[in-house]
C-alpha cells in the first residue's frame, strides 16, 4: 500500500483502544451466561418459579425422609378413618389434620400427603428424563439436518412432520397394554416408567429438533463458521465448538418449558390408566380415583390437582424467565 488516508492522526492504529470507546474497568469478561443470570435474578416471577422448582426437586429426592418425618408410609391402610357407608373420610375436609396433613384417601385411608410426595417423584422423574431423551434425539437430528441440509434435511424434516401429526396419546395407551411385566431388567412400575419416559421423549424430540434445525440453519451462515473453516476446521469442530455453544441457550429454554408439558402428559396417561402401576402413587392416578368420590370428598381431587397445577406453573414461570434472560430481545 502506498499513500496515507486523509483524516487520521498519528495516534491511530497502534494506539490503545480508546479510539472507539470502552472503559477499561473490569478485565474479566462477562460471559453471556453470567449476564443471563444477572437478568434472571431481577425477574421476581421467574425466581419464585425457580424456588418452587427447587423445592419440588428436593421433595422428590427426599421423599422417604419427608414422609418418615411428616407422614405415614404411602401404602399403609387406615380404614378406621373411613366411613364405611360413603367410603369417604369420617372427618370433615377430607380428614385433614396434624397427623394426616393432606387428609386420607377414600376407601382405604392411605395418607394423601405421603402419596402426593411420592407422586412428585414419578411425575418429575418421568418429565425430566423424557425431556432429556427428547433433547438428545432432537439436538442430534436437528443439528445434522440444519448443518448438512440437502436430502438429509428433507428426510429428517418429513420424519418430524410425521411424528408431530401422530396421535401419541392413543399410541401410548395401546403400547402400554402390550408391554410385558418385566423389561430391560425392570419390573412393575419401573417398566411403566421406562416406557413412559421413552415414549414421551420420543414424541417430544421433533419439537426440539425443529428448533435446533432452524437455529443451526441460521447459525451456519454466520461468518465465524467461515472463519473457522478458513483456519482449517473440520465439520466436527464446527458442529461442537462453534455451533453447539450457541445452541445450548435455546435448548435449555425449550427443555425447561418441555418439562411442564411432560408433567401434564404423564398425569393424563396415569389418569387414563396408562401410567405407573398401583400401588405406586402418581398424581394422575389419584385424580382418576377422586372422580368416583368427589361429591363426598372434594379435597381428594383438589390436592393432586393443585400439585399438578403448582408444578406446571412453577416450571413455566421459571422457563419463561430463563428464556427472557437468555434472549432479552425476544428475537426468536
Amino acid at each position: 500500500m502506498t499513500a496515507p488516508l486523509h483524516d487520521t492522526g498519528p495516534a491511530d492504529a497502534g494506539a490503545a483502544p480508546v479510539t472507539d470507546g470502552l472503559p477499561a474497568k473490569a478485565i474479566e469478561g462477562r460471559s453471556p451466561w453470567r449476564i443471563a443470570w444477572t437478568r434472571l435474578k431481577r425477574d421476581k416471577f421467574a425466581l419464585a418459579g425457580g424456588v418452587v422448582v427447587l423445592l419440588l426437586i428436593l421433595v422428590a429426592i427426599l421423599a422417604p425422609v419427608i414422609v418418615g418425618l411428616l407422614g405415614h408410609p404411602p401404602n399403609e391402610y387406615h380404614e378406621e378413618l373411613i366411613d364405611p357407608l360413603s367410603s369417604t373420610p369420617k372427618a370433615a375436609w377430607g380428614g385433614i389434620n396434624s397427623d394426616f396433613l393432606f387428609g386420607a384417601e377414600p376407601v382405604n385411608g392411605r395418607d394423601v400427603f405421603s402419596r402426593v410426595v411420592y407422586g412428585a417423584r414419578v411425575s418429575l422423574l418421568v418429565a425430566f428424563l423424557a425431556a432429556v431423551v427428547a433433547v438428545v434425539i432432537g439436538t442430534v437430528f436437528g443439528i445434522v439436518a440444519g448443518y448438512f441440509g440437502g436430502w438429509v434435511d428433507a428426510v429428517v424434516s418429513r420424519v418430524m412432520d410425521l411424528l408431530l401429526a401422530f396421535p401419541q396419546l392413543l399410541f401410548i395407551i395401546a403400547l402400554v397394554s402390550v408391554v410385558p411385566n418385566s423389561l430391560w431388567g425392570l419390573t412393575g412400575s419401573g417398566v411403566r416408567m421406562a416406557v413412559l419416559i421413552a415414549v414421551i421423549g420420543f414424541f417430544g424430540w421433533p419439537y426440539v429438533g425443529r428448533i435446533v434445525r432452524g437455529q443451526t440453519l441460521s447459525l451456519r451462515e454466520r461468518e465465524y463458521v467461515e472463519a473457522a473453516r478458513s483456519l482449517g476446521a473440520g465439520r466436527l469442530y464446527i458442529l461442537f465448538r462453534e455451533l453447539l455453544p450457541n445452541l445450548v441457550a435455546p435448548i435449555t429454554v425449550y427443555a425447561t418449558l418441555m418439562i411442564p408439558t411432560n408433567v401434564l402428559t404423564e398425569a393424563a396417561l396415569s389418569f387414563l390408566g396408562a401410567g405407573v402401576k398401583p400401588p405406586t402413587a402418581s398424581w394422575g392416578q389419584m385424580l382418576s380415583k377422586a372422580v368416583t368420590t368427589y361429591e363426598g370428598d372434594p379435597m381428594f381431587m383438589i390436592i393432586p390437582g393443585l400439585a399438578i397445577f403448582v408444578t406446571v406453573l412453577a416450571f413455566n414461570l421459571f422457563g419463561d424467565g430463563v428464556r427472557d434472560a437468555l434472549d432479552p430481545k425476544g428475537s426468536r
Binding site: M1, T2, A3, P4, L5, H6, D7, T8, D12, A13, G14, A15, A16, P17, T19, D20, G21, L22, A24, I27, E28, G29, R30, S31, P32, G150, W151, A154, R222, E223, Y224, E226, A227, A228, R229, S230, L231, G232, A233, G234, Y237, E242, P245, N246
Partner: protein
C-alpha cells in the same frame, strides 16, 4: 508517506494466479432437488496477485466479489478454472489438503458482528488458529494472543472478554488479529470496513496499511465502491456481473479509466480536490443490474451502457491490454491509446 518505487511487475512470480475461475450456484427446486438453473456468481476470472501488493476489487452488490474471495481462500469449491498459490494448484484441495495452506491464506470478514462467535472469549477466538493448526507459538498461546491484540491496537488485558463487550471497530480489529495469527502471506479482506462507522473506517484501513508494511503482507481488498480502496490499492480490478471488466494500476485506472462502467463508478466517488470536480460529471447508470441467473448476451454491461452498439449485444469483449498494465474488456474503450490524453492528468492520486 511516500510512494515507493514501483516493483518491476514481471520480476517475481505471482503469489496467486487465477485462470478462468467460475462459480455457479445451482438453483434446485422441489423435493427431488432438480436443478432448474444456476446463479452465475463468478463467470470466468483471470488475474494474478503479486507478492507484496494490494489488489483492490470493486463492483456493485451481487457482482460476485465475495464469491471470488471465498473461492481464492477455498471456502467454496470452484465450478471450473484454476487457482495456483505460489505455483501450487490448490483448485480442488479438500479440507485436509488445504489445512497447511490455511496458514498462508487468511480472510478478514465483512460483518464484525457475525464473524466472531459470541460464546467465545477474545482469547479463544484469536487463539483458535494455533489450536486448529496444532501450533504452539513461542511463549505459549496466551502470550502470543496478547501480542497480537497489542499489534492491532487492542488492550491485551481484554483477553478474557467476550465479543459483545467491544465496539464494531474493535471487533474488526479482533478479526484482523485472528487472520494474522498464523503469519499469512496473503490476506483477503471482504469489505473490511463497510459495516463500520465512517469515522472508524479510516482507522481500520490505516491499521491494515501499517500491518502490511510491518509484516510484508499481500492483500486482496474487496469493496463496493472506489472510495475506500482508493489510497491503499496498488492495482484495482473492477467487476461486473461475475466478470472482471477492467484491471489496471491504480493511477492508470483513476486517471484514464477505459471501461464505461469504471467511468461511471469513478464519477460517484467524491473528489477531494475541488478543482477536479468540474471535469468529472456524475454519471448515473440507468436500470438495475441484470440477474446473474441469465446475464445479458454479448457484453454484460450493454443493457446500461451509453456507448453500446450492435457488436456489444452479440460479441462478448475479451479482457485485453490496450496499454501496458491496463486490461479492459470493452469494444469501445474510453481513453484508449491514440485518443487525446485527458486534461485532468498529473494531479496525483
Amino acid at each position: 508517506m511516500t510512494i515507493p518505487a514501483q516493483p518491476a511487475p514481471e520480476a517475481t512470480e505471482p503469489l496467486l494466479k487465477v485462470e478462468g475461475l467460475v462459480k455457479h450456484f445451482p438453483i434446485v427446486k422441489g423435493l427431488l432437488r432438480r436443478q432448474t438453473g444456476a446463479v452465475r456468481a463468478v463467470d470466468g476470472l483471470d488475474f494474478d496477485v503479486r507478492a507484496g501488493e494490494t489488489l483492490g476489487v470493486v463492483g456493485e452488490s451481487g457482482c460476485g466479489k465475495s464469491t471470488m474471495g471465498r473461492l481464492i481462500t477455498r471456502l467454496l469449491e470452484p465450478t471450473a478454472g484454476k487457482i495456483e498459490f505460489e505455483g501450487r494448484d490448490i483448485t480442488h484441495l479438500g479440507v485436509a489438503g488445504m489445512r497447511p495452506m490455511r496458514r498462508d491464506v487468511q480472510m478478514i470478514f465483512q460483518d464484525p458482528y457475525s464473524s466472531l462467535n459470541p460464546r467465545h472469549t477474545v482469547g479463544t477466538i484469536v487463539g483458535a488458529p494455533f489450536r486448529l493448526q496444532g501450533i504452539t507459538p513461542e511463549g505459549g498461546v496466551k502470550k502470543e494472543v496478547q501480542r497480537l491484540l497489542e499489534l492491532v491496537g487492542l488492550n491485551p488485558e481484554h483477553y478474557n472478554r467476550y465479543p459483545h463487550e467491544f465496539s464494531g471497530g474493535q471487533r474488526q480489529r479482533i478479526g484482523i488479529a485472528r487472520a494474522l495469527a498464523l503469519k499469512p502471506r496473503l490476506v483477503v479482506a471482504d469489505e473490511p470496513v463497510s459495516a463500520l462507522d465512517v469515522s472508524i473506517q479510516a482507522q481500520v484501513v490505516n491499521l491494515l496499511d501499517d500491518l502490511q508494511e510491518e509484516l510484508g503482507l499481500t492483500y486482496v481488498i474487496i469493496a463496493h465502491d472506489l472510495s475506500v480502496i482508493r489510497h491503499v490499492s496498488d492495482r484495482i480490478a473492477v467487476m461486473y456481473l461475475g466478470k472482471i471488466v477492467e484491471l489496471a494500476d491504480r493511477t492508470s485506472l483513476y486517471e484514464r479509466p477505459m471501461h464505461p462502467y469504471t467511468t461511471a463508478l469513478l464519477s460517484a466517488v467524491p473528489v477531494p480536490d475541488p478543482g477536479r470536480r468540474v471535469k468529472r460529471e456524475r454519471i448515473l447508470l440507468k436500470g438495475d443490474v441484470p440477474s446473474p441467473i441469465s446475464p445479458p448476451a454479448g457484453c454484460r454491461f450493454h443493457t446500461r451502457c451509453w456507448k453500446a452498439t450492435e457488436v456489444c449485444r452479440t460479441d462478448e469483449p475479451r479482457l485485453l491490454a490496450p496499454r501496458a498494465g491496463h486490461q479492459v474488456a470493452c469494444h469501445h474503450p474510453e481513453n484508449a491509446p491514440g485518443t487525446p490524453e485527458p486534461v485532468t492528468e498529473g494531479a496525483g492520486a
